[in-house]
C-alpha cells in the first residue's frame, strides 16, 4: 500500500485499520507521524469542551427576561449574583452618602500618612479608566490596590459586572416603567453596587 492510497482513505478509517493499513503504518514514518499528530489534535480538543466562563451579566439578562415573560413565579426576586442585601433599600441613599464622605476623607488623609501609598496614588501616572468602571470606582480600586494588590482585579471585575447589571435593569425599567419587577431589579442592582463599595472600602481601610 502506498502513502497516497493510505491517505486517501484515512478520513474514513476512524482509528480502525486493516492489516494492510497497519503494516503500512509500521513501515512508513511519514504516515505514522501524520496519524499520531491528527490523533493528538483530537485528544487535546476534547479538553476544550467546557473551560470558558461567561460574564455574570449573561445570567442577569436571562433572569430579567424570564421575569418579564412571567416564567419565574417566585414571590420575591432572588439576589442574582452577590450575597443577599443586609439592609432595607430605604437606607440606600444615606448609606451611599456616608460611603462617599468616608471615601473623600480617606483620600484626604492619604496625602500625608503613608509615603509608599502616597507614592502609589500620586506619583504613578494616571492611567486611562479601566473599561466599564466609573472614575470614582477607579479611584477606589487604587485605594484597594494600595492595601491589598491581589484584590484589585477581583473588585474591578465586580464593579464591571454590577455596572452592567444596573445598565440592563435601567433599560428594563425604561421599557416597562410600570413594571414592579423591573423596578425591584433596579433597586437590587443599586444595592449590589453599594455592597461592592462597602466590601472594597473595608479592604481599602485595613
Amino acid at each position: 500500500m502506498s502513502c497516497e492510497e493510505f491517505q486517501r482513505i484515512l478520513p474514513e478509517l476512524e482509528d480502525t485499520y486493516s492489516l494492510e493499513q497497519e503494516q503500512h503504518l509500521k513501515t512508513c514514518s511519514h504516515c505514522s507521524a501524520l496519524v499520531a499528530d491528527l490523533n493528538a489534535i483530537a485528544r487535546e480538543a476534547l479538553l476544550l469542551a467546557d473551560i470558558e466562563e461567561p460574564s455574570p451579566r449573561v445570567w442577569n439578562r436571562i433572569e430579567i427576561a424570564l421575569r418579564q415573560e412571567g416564567l419565574i413565579r417566585s414571590a420575591q426576586p432572588a439576589a442574582p449574583t452577590l450575597r443577599k442585601a443586609r439592609w432595607n433599600p430605604i437606607w440606600l441613599v444615606p448609606v451611599a452618602a456616608i460611603f462617599l464622605v468616608i471615601f473623600g476623607l480617606l483620600l484626604y488623609q492619604r496625602g500625608g500618612v503613608e509615603p509608599q501609598t502616597a507614592h502609589v496614588l500620586h506619583s504613578t501616572p494616571l492611567p486611562s479608566l479601566p473599561e466599564g468602571v466609573s472614575a470614582e470606582q477607579a479611584e477606589l480600586l487604587k485605594v484597594v490596590a494600595a492595601q491589598t494588590p491581589s484584590l484589585r482585579a477581583s473588585y474591578e471585575s465586580e464593579f464591571r459586572a454590577v455596572n452592567a447589571y444596573i445598565r440592563d435593569a435601567e433599560l428594563a425599567v425604561r421599557r416597562n416603567p410600570n413594571d414592579q419587577i423591573s423596578q425591584q431589579y433596579l433597586t437590587n442592582a443599586y444595592e449590589q453596587r453599594a455592597m461592592v463599595y462597602e466590601m472594597a472600602m473595608d479592604h481599602g481601610l485595613q
Partner: protein, 200 residues
C-alpha cells in the same frame, strides 16, 4: 436520563431543579444555568470566535431551554437536550449571517487544499507537544465550515451521523471535512511551532 447530580453550592439535585424550574422557581433556573453555562458558552465561543456573540447565543440558548422546560419529559439526558438546543441556536445564527456551515460536497480536493502527500521527513513534529492556547488560536483561524465540523465532533463529541443531521450534509462529507479541519490545524500548529523555534 442520567442519575441526579449534586449542583455546585447547594443541595438541589438536577432532577429537583428541573421540576422546580417547571413551577417557575428562580433558584432552580439559576442552579441549572450555573451547572451548564460553561459547556454552552464554550461551544458558542468556539463556534463564533467572538465573546459578545457567544454571550448573546448563550443567553438565547438558555432562554429557549427555559421557555420549553415544561415539555421536558426525561426521555434523554437534560444536558443532551440543552446541548442540542445550543448547537441549533448557533447554527441558525451562522446560517442567518450567510456563513457557510459546511463547504459544498467535494469529491476531489481543490488544488490549494491538497497537502503534500509525498513521503518525506517532517521537519517539525507535533506529537506530545500541542500547546492548548495555540490550538485555540488555530481553531479560530479555521474556515467556518471546517471549524463547525471539528468542534461538533472532536470537542463536543457528536458522531458523524448526528452532525450530518444537524448541519444538513452527508456522513461522508462530515468525515471529509473533519479530516481536512485536522490537517489544517496540524499545518497551523506546525507553522506556529516552527516560528517559535526560529525566534532567538
Amino acid at each position: 436520563m442520567t442519575g441526579a447530580r449534586k449542583l455546585q453550592g447547594d443541595k438541589l439535585s438536577e432532577a429537583e431543579a428541573i421540576e422546580r424550574a417547571k413551577q417557575g422557581d428562580a433558584e432552580a433556573f439559576e442552579a441549572l444555568y450555573h451547572l451548564h453555562k460553561r459547556r454552552v458558552y464554550s461551544l458558542c465561543l468556539r463556534m463564533t470566535a467572538n465573546t459578545a456573540a457567544a454571550e448573546d447565543l448563550t443567553q438565547e440558548a438558555f432562554l429557549q431551554l427555559f421557555r420549553k422546560i415544561a415539555t421536558f419529559r426525561g426521555e434523554s439526558a437534560f444536558s443532551t437536550w440543552l446541548h442540542r438546543m445550543a448547537v441549533n441556536v448557533v447554527l441558525m445564527q451562522l446560517r442567518k449571517k450567510g456563513l457557510a456551515v459546511v463547504p459544498l460536497e467535494e469529491t476531489f480536493e481543490s488544488e490549494e487544499e491538497t497537502s503534500k502527500k509525498e513521503p518525506g521527513a517532517d521537519d517539525v513534529r507535533l506529537t506530545g507537544s500541542i500547546d492548548r492556547l495555540q490550538l485555540k488560536r488555530a481553531i479560530d483561524d479555521l474556515p467556518q465550515g471546517y471549524r463547525t465540523i471539528f468542534l461538533l465532533h472532536d470537542v463536543e463529541g457528536y458522531e458523524h451521523n448526528e452532525i450530518a443531521t444537524l448541519v444538513g450534509c452527508s456522513i461522508g462529507n462530515s468525515k471529509s471535512q473533519l479530516h481536512k479541519a485536522r490537517m489544517k490545524l496540524r499545518e497551523l500548529l506546525k507553522t506556529s511551532k516552527a516560528e517559535k523555534a526560529a525566534k532567538p
